[in-house]
């Protein structure tokens, strides 16, 4: 599964993009987040306050309940500030 981080989530994890293999049974965004938090202190810090983290699965906005499966592209980022 491909995971992307943007803005301060990228700064905290220190990573823009990584390939991960979450444990079997990880079938929602929420489950994936629990797994990602264990990868480093930076990851844990990035996901510390989930209320300010937005997520997209395959480039569409998603939520913690959204299903994920191997091969998906999952991105985490703060609320957008373009325009």
């Amino acid at each position: 599964m491909k995971v992307l981080y943007f803005a301060w989530l990228k700064a905290r994890t220190g990573i823009g993009e990584e390939m991960v293999e979450p444990p079997p049974g990880t079938d929602t965004v929420g489950g994936l987040v629990e797994f990602l938090k264990t990868r480093s202190p930076g990851h844990a810090a990035a996901f510390e306050t989930l209320s300010v983290v937005r997520v997209a699965v395959n480039q569409d906005y998603a939520g913690l309940d959204t299903p994920v499966r191997p091969g998906d592209e999952v991105a985490f980022f703060p609320p957008v500030t373009g325009g």
């Binding site: 997209a56 991105a75 980022f77 703060p78 957008v80 500030t81 373009g82």
Partner: protein
């Protein structure tokens, strides 16, 4: 109809000229251009001076979301044309960031659609601004007023 995401600047006059050329069914064109201001936040007296900002974005998703926003505008209003251009990368105060435009037989539709395009873009297109000031870099926080502006269209 067009959506463009680019690092380079754009020429609003040239975009506007292409927009209406040869069409005799267009009654009005509304265009909005957003620019980089030289201070942080809402109030020029309160915010630190901004030397520059950098716009990060999510290639692929950005185009996808902008196209969806434009399609939504076309579904809601009888538009002759619509255009969205958004830059990314480093920008200095006074530089153009974004252009949205809509044309229609009637000015109501052109104005409403133009406003809708920028309001939804502000809360849905995956761009993030980091401001460079003498106190360091700071990610811009999403603003509640932008959320409220977008909600008007739901």
């Amino acid at each position: 109809m067009a959506v463009r995401v680019q690092r380079e600047d754009f020429d609003p006059g040239a975009e506007l000229a292409g927009f209406s050329s040869g069409k005799t069914s267009v009654g009005g064109i509304c265009l909005f251009v957003g620019l980089v201001r030289d201070y942080m936040g809402h109030d020029p007296r309160a915010g630190a001076e901004v030397h520059a900002m950098t716009l990060e974005h999510y290639p692929g998703m950005t185009e996808r979301q902008l196209e969806a926003i434009e399609a939504e505008a076309r579904a809601r209003w009888p538009l002759e044309d619509a255009l969205v251009i958004h830059r990314h990368g480093r920008l200095e105060p006074g530089e153009r960031i974004v252009l949205v435009a809509a044309s229609s037989a009637h000015r109501d539709a052109a104005f409403e659609a133009c406003r809708f395009l920028i309001d939804w873009l502000k809360t849905k297109a995956p761009f993030w601004k980091v401001e460079h000031t003498q106190d360091g870099d700071a990610w811009v926080d999403a603003r509640e007023s932008d959320e409220a502006a977008a909600k008007r269209w739901e």
